[in-house]
C-alpha cells in the first residue's frame, strides 16, 4: 500500500509538490513511483537557475531495471537541488517525501499548484493502475 500524504499535491506522472511558507515549492517522486521503479541506483536533478515549463522533462531516476524521466509539475525556476541523491540514490526509495526530495522551485505562478491533484485524486489514480 503506497503512502500518499494528505498535505501534498500530485501530478499523474507520479511527482509530488509541496508549497513552502516562503512561496517556493519542493518536488519529488511519489512512494508509488519509487516502489514501481525498484531499487534506485542513479538520480540526476536539474541545475539551479534552470527555468522549467510545466510538464518539462528535467530530471532522471534510474533503477536497477530502467530509466525514467521526471517532469516539472508546474512552471518555475530551479533554486535548489538535492545533492545527496548523487551518492545515495537509495534515500529516494526509503524516504521519498522527506530526505528524498529532488529540487526546489520558485513558481512562475503560485496558483498553478492549486489545479493539481490532491491526495484523494492521486490515490484514485494509483488505485486504478493497480
Amino acid at each position: 500500500m503506497s503512502n500518499v500524504p494528505a498535505d501534498l499535491k500530485y501530478v499523474k506522472s507520479h511527482e509530488w509538490i509541496k508549497k513552502l511558507a516562503d512561496g517556493t515549492v519542493v518536488i519529488g517522486i511519489t512512494d508509488h513511483a519509487q516502489h514501481a521503479l525498484g531499487d534506485l541506483v542513479f538520480v540526476e536533478v536539474p541545475k539551479v537557475g534552470r527555468k522549467l515549463a510545466a510538464d518539462e522533462s528535467c530530471a532522471v531516476v534510474e533503477s536497477v531495471k530502467a530509466a525514467s524521466d521526471v517532469y516539472a509539475p508546474i512552471a518555475g525556476e530551479v533554486i535548489d537541488a538535492n545533492g545527496a541523491l548523487a551518492n545515495t540514490p537509495e534515500i529516494l526509495n526509503s524516504d521519498p517525501y522527506e530526505a528524498g526530495w529532488m529540487w526546489k522551485m520558485k513558481p512562475n505562478n503560485a496558483a498553478d499548484i492549486d489545479a493539481l491533484l490532491d491526495a484523494a485524486g492521486y490515490q484514485k489514480l494509483i488505485d486504478e493502475l493497480n
Binding site: G38, D39, V41, F42, E62, V64, K65, A66, A67, E90
Partner: protein, 360 residues
Amino acid sequence: MLKKTALHSEHVRLGARLVDFAGWEMPIQYQSQLDEHHAVRADSGMFDVAHMSAVDLHGPRTREFLRKLLANDVAKLTAPGKALYSCMLREDAGIIDDLIAYFLSEDWFRLVVNAGTTDKDLAWIRQQAAAFGVTVKHRDDLGIVAVQGPQAREKVIKLLPADLAAAAQSVGVFQAVYSGDWFVGRTGYTGEDGFELMLPHADLVKLWQKLEADGVRPAGLGARDTLRLEAGMNLYGQDMDESKHPLESGLGWTIAWDPADRDFIGRKALSAFRGNSAHKFVSLLLEGRGVVRAHMKVRFANGAEGETTSGGFSPTMKSSIAFARVDAKAEGICEVEIRGQWVAAKLVKAPFVRNGKVLV
C-alpha cells in the same frame, strides 16, 4: 495464459513481483533486487530456473551425435558427471542456443537449454538425432533451482539424502552427481560457487522451503541478470541469437576447432569468420555518470562504432558495466550515448566480478 513453475505459489507467498519471461510467469524480484544480488555475493541466494529445460539423450551413439550437434567438443568429457558449455549452431553458424551438456554414461547425456528456446531446440535436436538413433526426452517432470553464493554448497549438502550428500561434498567445478531423479551440478550463472539442482517438482518445492528456512535468500531474475553481467556471462536472445555467430559474441573460447576433422554443424560457415570477423564483443566500464543499458551506441576515438547488447548498474562495483558488439578495429578510449549524451567508458576484460571480488 502464462506457464507457471512448481514454485509459483512460493513466489506469491514471498510477495514477489512477477513478470512474463519467455511465456512463464517468473519473479523479477522479491523485496529488493540489490539486496538479493548482495546476498548471493556475500552468503547465498536461490533462483527458480524451472522454466529452463533438461533434455536427456540416450543411445549408444549419443557422444558421436553431440560431437556433430555442438560447437564445443564433448570428447573433452571423459569422467562421468563432467559438464561442458557449448553453443548449438545453425549451418550458417548462427547461434540456436547456448547450453550445458553433462556426460553421465556412454548412452546418457543431459543438456540444459534456455526457456525461450526450448521448443525450437527440441525440434532441431530431434531432427538431427534421428540419423544417430538417439532418443530425445524432454525432462519436464524435473524442475531446476540454482543455489549460489559462498555458503550455498554447505546449505544444500545438509539437506541432501546421505548418499548424494557425500557425493556432492566432493564434486568438482562443472561436474555433477545424481541419485535417482535428484541431480546436483556444481554450475551456475552468477560467478559464485554453488549448485544447480534438478529434481521432481514436488521435491523441488520442499527443498526450496527448507533452504529458505535455513536463510538462503530467494532471488529473482533481476538479480540473476546483474550477477551474470558482473560475471561476464552472455544472455541468449540479448547478447547473441540466430543472426549472430560465436566469434562476434565473445564465445570464440567455446569453439573446439581441434580435431580439424570434427565436422560439427556450422563449422564450415564459422571457419570463414575465423580471424576475419567484422565485429568483436567487448566489455565496458562506464567512467562517467549514468547507467548503460542494452542497445546504446558506442563510439571509439579511432572511428570504430558499435552497440551495447547488455548493460546495467553493477551493485558490487557501484558503477555501470556493459557488453557491446563493435567493429573489429575498436580499441582504446570510447564513449557510450546515454539519453543523448556521450559519456566516457573504457574497455576492460571480463569477468568484472568473480567469487565476490572485483577483477577490473
